[in-house]
């Protein structure tokens, strides 16, 4: 008997109606993610990577195919699939503590338990000193830490991340990548991570899934066997980077002279 994967996507397509036009954002995507895996979706804009992520999150139903978690069809957003948005999506009227406690409180956990959970995850992401600050008082990196902490505090089994570090400066991005890997290794989370940075994908992922535009689809998947922590300057790393880079760029139409 085949093992049921945490996430199974079969033949998933998505077509949007834009006025009279129909736009096919994603066609026939197949993807299996095993528990504890760190998978990166990478591709140029319009390749359907965010669409796929939003379908897995349950924000949008697929037009064709099925998306399943533990073999059960995904019918809508749920706490077992936590989403981290590029623009954070924090509640501006709640403090760091209250944002992290939002999920557990909304699901009716006892107050004492919520409080203990919040303290644990405030510490996990190193925001102890800013626990009572409001989001507008935080830097982008701190906001994204809160966004990660609030899905972890809500017992997410899969963390879906939509270019979460795309709006951050390079130093903050590298730091958050390290921290994310540390959390992932410690908690054995499953992560599905959308990015357009080849380096970020190779640095983070067990497996990199390359997507192509026009219509959006999965082109190839690559297991990254490099030992962790990975050195972005090593020859092995750069060999993979060159290989993936070629695959990504070969899909682009040649520029007109």
């Amino acid at each position: 008997m085949a093992e049921i994967p945490i996430l199974g996507v079969r033949g998933v397509g998505k077509t949007y109606a834009l006025g009279e036009q129909r736009i096919e954002a994603l066609r026939g995507a197949d993807l299996v993610v095993r528990k504890g895996e760190f998978v990166c979706l990478i591709g140029a804009s319009g390749c359907g990577k965010s669409t796929l992520l939003r379908i897995v999150a349950g924000f949008e139903p697929p037009s064709t195919g099925t998306a399943e978690m533990w073999g059960m069809p995904i019918t809508g957003p749920a706490p077992d699939r936590g989403m981290v948005f590029q623009d954070y999506g924090l509640f501006p009227w709640l403090t760091v503590r209250q944002n992290i406690g939002f999920g557990p409180a909304a699901r009716g956990r006892p107050r004492a338990e919520v409080k203990a959970t919040v303290e644990r995850f405030v510490e996990l992401v190193g925001l102890g000193r800013f626990a009572d600050a409001w989001p507008h008082q935080l830097s982008g990196g701190m906001k994204q830490r809160v966004a990660i902490a609030r899905v972890l505090a809500n017992d997410a089994e899969i963390v879906l991340m939509d270019e979460p570090f795309g709006a951050l400066d390079a130093m903050t991005r590298e730091r958050l990548q390290d921290e994310l890997l540390e959390i992932w290794q410690r908690t054995r989370l499953t992560v599905l991570f959308v990015t357009h940075s080849i380096e970020e994908a190779i640095f983070l992922a067990d497996r990199v899934v390359v997507m192509e535009p026009g219509p959006g689809r999965i082109a190839s998947a690559h297991t990254i066997d490099l030992p962790r922590p990975r050195d972005v300057a090593s020859p092995e790393f750069n060999a993979i980077r060159r290989d993936l880079g070629r695959r990504l760029h070969s899909h682009h139409a040649p520029k007109a002279a």
Partner: protein, 285 residues
């Protein structure tokens, strides 16, 4: 992962920039002094115009001040209006806050429903949009017929004046909640009706407060019109009586009291707003 790094450690709270501690007395009182310039110039112009005989119908600032004292505590003229300020002020304040409170009580829940429920929006929005261009003052004759000559008519006009700004801003606040926040709430396990209290209401609060502030301002605006309908007491009534009796000083005193009362009540709302909306970068005091 600890908070000792670049981000968590050195990155101080990006609080709104505070000016360095004021160095001297002048530096501290500068904003106040600047704010006084225009009123002082106007006062000087008033003084000049009345003493130079440009007009004989308007009393000088000094005369007006004496009338104001008489109006407030009596002892100068001791006529029907002496020492009656508190009576009129209290009557107006009751109507302003009564009409305003009723307007808020109706307009906020109604605005929340119009913004959130399609059926209610389709049912009420066209009607309310059609009624909105009718100025409150145009309702005066009809409200006298409906509510009679007296305080109830004034109350109704204040209600009507405060109603629309509160309603429209509440609807706007509900309609402009960032869609991302609904997604964030849904994936955290807060869906359906719970989103109303956990997302819509707090997200719409800044707009609701803007509406309340505008509504209260309009309530003070409308009270004079409302109290023209034959009520014996109220600042609007004082102004109308002053006009009928050709007592311009009384008219000016009434205007000043309304201005000050409206200003004070606006500051109260702003203080409450800044307290409740501390989380908002545009409201943090």
């Amino acid at each position: 992962m600890t908070g000792t790094g670049i981000e968590g450690g050195a990155g101080a709270l990006a609080a709104p920039a505070r000016r360095p501690a004021a160095s001297g007395w002048l530096e501290r009182t500068r904003p106040m002094l600047l704010a006084m310039i225009v009123p002082a110039l106007l006062l000087a112009l008033w003084q000049f115009a009345t003493t130079q005989g440009w007009t004989r119908l308007i009393p000088t600032p000094a005369e007006t001040a004496r009338y104001m004292v008489d109006f407030a505590v009596g002892g100068v003229w001791d006529d029907a209006f002496s020492a009656t300020l508190h009576v009129h002020l209290l009557a107006s304040v009751q109507r302003v806050y009564g009409g305003f409170a009723l307007a808020a009580l109706v307009a906020v829940p109604l605005g929340l429903m119009i913004g959130r429920i399609l059926l209610v929006r389709q049912l009420l929005d066209p009607f309310l949009q059609l009624m909105r261009p009718i100025p409150v003052t145009a309702w005066l004759p009809l409200s006298m017929l409906l509510f009679g000559l007296g305080p109830r008519s004034a109350f109704f006009l204040v209600f009507l004046g405060a109603f629309y700004p509160i309603l429209l801003n509440t609807v706007f606040g509900v309609r402009s909640v960032e869609p991302r926040l609904f997604e964030a709430a849904a994936m955290l396990g807060c869906g359906g009706r719970a989103q109303f209290y956990k997302v819509v209401l707090p997200a719409a609060l800044p707009s609701i407060f803007t509406g309340l502030r505008l509504g209260l301002g309009l309530a003070w605006f409308v009270i004079v019109v409302g109290e023209m309908t034959g009520v014996p007491q109220g600042l609007g009534a004082v102004i109308m009586d002053g006009r009928t009796l050709s007592r311009t000083e009384l008219v000016i005193c009434g205007m000043i009291v309304i201005g000050v009362a409206g200003y004070v009540s606006d500051r109260l709302v702003v203080a409450l707003m800044n307290r409740l909306l501390r989380w908002s970068p545009t409201h943090a005091a």
